[in-house]
Amino acid sequence: MKKLIVLIMSMFMLTSLVGCSGNDTPETETIKLTFWGHQNEAWNESYRAIGDSFMAENPGIEITFEFFPYDQFESKVQTSLISKEGGADMYEMWGGWGVDFASTGALAAMPDDMAANVIDQVYPSTIGALMYEGKLYGLPLEFNIENGAMLVNTQILKDNNMSVPTTWDELVSAGTKLTKIEDGLMVQKGFDFVNWDSVPYMFLSMILSTGGSYMDANGKFTLQTPEAKTALQELYDMVVVDKVTDLEGLVGGGDLEGFQQLFAGRNALVPRGPWVISEGVVSFGLEYGVDFDYVAMPWFGDKAAFAAETGWALSVNGNSAQQEAAYKFLNYFYQDEQLLAHNVAAAQIPAKISVAQDPELLTLMPFAAPLVGILEDAQFIGYFNTDQFKEAVNNTFVDLVMGTIPSVDEALVSLEEHLNTNVAK
């Protein structure tokens, strides 16, 4: 009986070994990549379309796209990078997060040859926050711009027989004339620049456009300068003296954001980035160029100059086993043809110089006209947490306007000290 069992077992093993040895031509395994981004229909379709064309050219690589609601996206990215397991191979990455993630080793550095090309071919502000110790940790997709242009409610201007202001003085004067106050309530804001992004960006742009600077070579904030004082005084005067708007955009109490109020017919002029335009068309059913416009905003000083932070980019997970394939996809994405298609679909100002200067861009995205000519005038805002920076500037501005800080000089001393203690790296 024992012999019989040994015989059967031997036959079984032999058959198994023959079966294994018969597989002498190993199949090429498909490399599977995952991509995480935030939910935005136009953006998501664009990623998928570029992914499909990449996979058609690279049959050995398969990409799965997963998109999450924006308010969950950052925490999902963070949690997956912390756990060092699971998560995605590639992430859509906000530039500001790069400051937090790159220094921890959570992201994979871009291969040197590809990085050298990218650094050479994009606007400096689009990679500033993605750089760490000479390495690049993301492929920039967009030029994040909050300066140089503003939304205009054309009907309000028409009703008041006014044209689009072209100088700073005209802008302030128009803001005052277009503001309406009834029973102590500002029911229409002429020039609503008071919001989380615009106050800090305008403050920096006003300093730079008058020939000043806000940071020294050692990365320390220097705000006790004549240019900073003039800039903050002007911002204060526009709210308190000229009454072009109020503090609602920073302290709260409104039902809509300033640009949404413009789309709802309650604000005349609002400086914001071009990303708000689609909301006017899609959510408010307005026609671009008819109901509202996006035009060049006058500079405070005698030259165009502004600071910009790093916008949306694509990064590779530092713990991914497929970094090479992931960077192959990013390299494919980086071609002018793909980037142009994506920037237009996502209504982003391009990060890559050749795409931004491509005449076809303005044909496909006419609202970019006021911006593409000033991209060279930008400087990277600085390697620090921009949320903390904006909070400090906005809190100081609110305190100044509310009278808690008695003067512009004291506001600048306090702001400079706070920024150098808590924000400067």
């Binding site: 925490s75 963070q78 990078l81 912390i82 937090d100 993630f101 921890t104 080793g105 959570a106 029973d183 102590g184 309530l185 500002m186 029911v187 989380w196 503090l247 609602e248 920073l250 302290v251 709260g252 109490g253 409104g254 039902d255 309650r266 947490n385 949320d387 903390q388 909070e391 906005n394 809190n395 609110v398 305190d399 509310m402 808690t404």
Partner: protein, 291 residues
């Protein structure tokens, strides 16, 4: 003996649950509060009590603490006063159907998710230009108020909302307590000629002692931990940090600034405050009677 073994056996899952999901995180929180902790880093330095020392000199924390104590103090007192008053008024009705109707009506806001109620109030009732509150003020000739943007008004606006949204739960508890008081006490008092106030003061209130203790402790704890309405109704931290409470400061430090060591130190402070207040409150309101 066999019975005891069985009891221990069936209690194992709940003890395991407590250990893993309650005791474990508390210990982890204490540990993280003594570290310069950024979850993205491979190594996080032990800093001892440095985060707690930083608490002492942090003016924003002081503001958050003041706001929290003010919010909890006012909402808990008003919540209990109103809910007790309403429960007493509802108990006057003899018909069970009418009492059930009022209890359901007051309980309705508790059923809706707090976030959803907060959005409705922030977008429909409180907006300065288009909100219901200012429209009503306008009809009586009063100038509009910036309910969520004026640092002197913001916290009161949230207090009003919180009382509206949270009062129903305590009304149900007090109603149950009042219904449980034997009617012979009231009949005896009536025979002695006691007024409605005297019956409430000398019968209802003392005999609601156990319910009252439970309601106060649970309301205190839940109001110290309130976060959703501050997150939804307050823009950032509110003007001059007037809408910042300890829970929102913990969130801001941990998830916006990724300073989880300091955030844990604030959470430990919040834990200590709730723990001490609960102990004091339990000592004061010790109930050792029965009816």
């Amino acid at each position: 003996m066999k019975n005891k073994k069985f009891v221990y056996f069936v209690l194992i899952p709940i003890f395991l649950h407590m250990l893993i999901f309650i005791v474990g995180p508390i210990i982890a929180g204490f540990a993280i509060s003594m570290m310069d902790y950024n979850p993205l880093r491979d190594t996080n330095a032990f800093v001892g009590l440095a985060n707690f020392k930083q608490l002492i000199g942090d003016p924003v924390l002081m503001k958050a603490l003041t706001n929290t104590l003010m919010f909890v103090g006012v909402t808990v007192v008003l919540n209990i006063a109103f809910s007790l008053m309403i429960a007493q008024l509802v108990s006057i009705f003899k018909s069970n159907k009418i009492r059930a109707f009022f209890r359901m009506a007051f309980f309705l806001p508790c059923v809706a998710p707090l976030v959803a109620s907060s959005v409705v109030w922030a977008r429909s009732i409180y907006p300065t230009a288009t909100g219901l509150a200012n429209m009503m003020l306008k009809t009586i000739g009063v100038n509009p108020v910036n309910w969520l943007g004026d640092p002197n008004v913001l916290m009161w606006s949230i207090i009003v909302f919180t009382i509206w949204v949270d009062i129903g739960y305590n009304i149900i508890l007090f109603s149950a307590g009042i219904d449980g008081i034997p009617t012979n006490f009231y009949e005896a008092a009536e025979m002695d000629g006691a007024s409605a106030w005297h019956k409430f003061r000398f019968i209802t209130l003392p005999l609601l002692g156990r319910t009252m203790t439970f309601v106060i402790i649970m309301t205190l704890i839940s109001h110290f931990q309130m976060f959703a309405q501050f997150s939804v109704m307050v823009l950032k931290s509110g003007p001059q940090n007037s809408g910042l409470v300890l829970t929102s400061y913990v969130y801001k430090m941990a998830f916006e600034l990724k300073n989880m060591g300091y955030a844990s130190a604030i959470a430990v402070l919040l834990f200590a405050i709730i723990f001490i207040i609960t102990l004091i409150q339990q000592k004061i309101q010790k109930v050792d009677w029965d009816y």
